[in-house]
Symmetry: C2
Subunit: 345 residues, 2 copies
């Protein structure tokens, strides 16, 4: 077995020279494996919501047709990438073979894992569609997939329901980046603190700042009232609209003794919240944008326009150990786990 490109370009059939995600067609013949690949027996696909909705509508909601369409896509492209939406999803499966060159890999055959890279870049072969579960965009299959050396995955733990794990891992980057970023004694403003990533981020921040810090959650509606404090996620909650920067800033500063914040973390998924993140941050502080609705230019020009010498970071969905950090929060905080089980499972 030869060692191949860690990003998987060796499996790109068309067009040659691009990465697996923009590629039109991947090689899903797994009879020859490279020694830095992981072969997995796949049991289920969690299709990206936008993709599943598109396919389901195109098939008039008919399960047999949905199955055929998914099979056609994978046979055609060697991966489950919806040609209309461009998006993928993730898989769940059992490890079959771990390439000999992957000496640091903590997997062994038989381990149950979820992939944490998109199906839109993952070589996949489907032998049989077993069941379509429309309510949760899930397709049970018999098939195999390959993870590249750069591919991310999480071992599924025994002590949690699979759907709880998947819901949490969906946003695993945010709390794990928070763990690296926030220091004891910091003041931290979390904008959108009652969403899925916002709650995990707030709890992590509150743990990290310790007894000398201050974590303030900004929410648009505090529902149920005092939710963040009751779950131990924040010291204070403010109710403010993040698209109204000046108003949010005034409320946020008041909740921090009039001082600007060391760290601001944006977890809101609506546009035009850049200035609400920049204004409350102190000179030399950090703004971390996890919102996919963030505009690069609005952030860059916005900070300059108000003379803020701050580091603005693009939320990276991956950091080493992010799955463990995130699942650990749910083990540590039973109230948060219960809330997640009720809302997201």
């Amino acid at each position: 077995m030869a060692t191949a490109c860690k990003y998987g370009t060796h499996r790109v059939l068309e067009p040659i020279g691009v990465l697996p995600q923009p590629a039109k067609k991947l090689n899903n013949d797994f009879s020859t494996l490279y020694d830095n690949e992981i072969l997995v027996d796949v049991t289920a696909l969690n299709i990206d919501s936008a993709s599943f909705t598109q396919i389901s509508e195109a098939c008039g909601g008919d399960e047999a047709k949905i199955g055929e369409m998914i099979l056609d896509i994978v046979n055609e492209r060697g991966k489950m990438q919806n040609p209309v939406t461009g998006s993928g999803g993730m898989f769940i499966g059992t490890v079959h073979t771990v390439g000999a060159a992957l000496k640091d890999c903590d997997l062994k055959p038989g381990d149950k894992i979820a992939s944490l890279v998109s199906l839109s870049l993952t070589p996949l072969r489907i032998d049989k569609i077993v069941k379509i579960i429309k309510a949760i965009d899930r397709v049970e299959i018999v098939g195999q997939a390959v993870l590249f050396e750069s591919g991310l995955y999480a071992k599924l733990p025994d002590d949690m329901e699979e759907n709880l794990v998947l819901a949490a891992l969906d946003v695993a980057g945010a709390p794990a980046q928070t763990a690296k970023l926030v220091k004891p004694g910091d003041s931290v403003l979390v904008i959108g603190a009652n969403g899925k990533s916002g709650m995990l981020v707030s709890y992590e921040a509150k743990k990290r700042v310790g007894p000398n810090g201050n974590v303030v959650g900004a929410v648009i509606i505090d529902e149920p009232a005092h939710l963040l404090q009751d779950l131990g996620l924040a010291h204070k909650t403010i109710i403010a609209d993040a698209t109204k920067a000046i108003d949010l800033m005034h409320k946020a500063l008041e909740a921090n003794g009039g001082r600007e914040y060391d760290v601001v973390i944006n977890c809101v998924n609506v546009p035009n919240t850049e200035m609400a993140s920049i204004l409350p941050c102190r000179q030399g502080g950090v703004v971390y944008f996890f919102s996919m609705a963030t505009s690069f230019t609005k952030a860059a020009l916005g900070a300059e326009g108000v003379g803020k010498d701050i580091d603005m970071i693009i939320g990276n969905g991956y950091t080493r150990g992010h799955a463990n950090t995130t699942l650990w929060e749910l083990r540590e905080n039973p109230g948060l786990r219960k809330f997640f089980e009720e809302r997201y499972v």
Copy 2:
């Protein structure tokens, strides 16, 4: 004199509660000054290129009409913000009054300065249009403007031509951020190293890495050949298209002894160069995006897709002392200064 909002919301007439940039109308009556404002006698406006082009075309290139249109905009809005393009520009002038509350301000009446915040958020009154200089988008005027407490400016030095200073300050954030970011011994890849910001960034990086580091400039055409090495801006140059990520990565790694880079700085102003920045960066390294063509989501999802645990930073046009850092480079490196004088003045 009262102390007002450091971001200038006290001068917003319409709509109340927003920042000066999105505002429709600012108060440009300077008979009452606040004690954290700086009043400047303005001698020239450097209109943003997109804005000047639009106005000039609307006026059929007629200088008198261009002057009238600019006067109308400023009388209407209290600032020189083109209602079509939304953009502004910068001013040059002489300090009239420094508010008493600005104790850390290094300005005194009579100092000649350039504003480093956009005219689109700067209260301005024009008493008279003196001259339109179409070739350089410049309007000489008699008038006054106010800088807010958060407003940025640079004192114009005596030892450099004004146009050289303005050309360099236009991208002052990039080299000054590089100075803070790059450490001795680092390997640094500068993508787009032969543009204006790329050259300033490369020189700063080469200074900072010292004798144990490696600065590699990626350019699409090395013209004139060996430009970067001849000017002392980089150890090596590679010729690669930043929209072809895999090809650029291979060339970049080869120029760094096969190793990934500690720091990658993107100074290319074309879209789809995120992956070319992410792939050559080592785990734990930093990618700094100065390109305004950067897509937030392409960067965020791209790093996750290839499993890169890196910090990705949104280029901030401002950091403390950025004007000094940048002009200092031109004093230190006469070859670079000569090149800038020939190309940009």
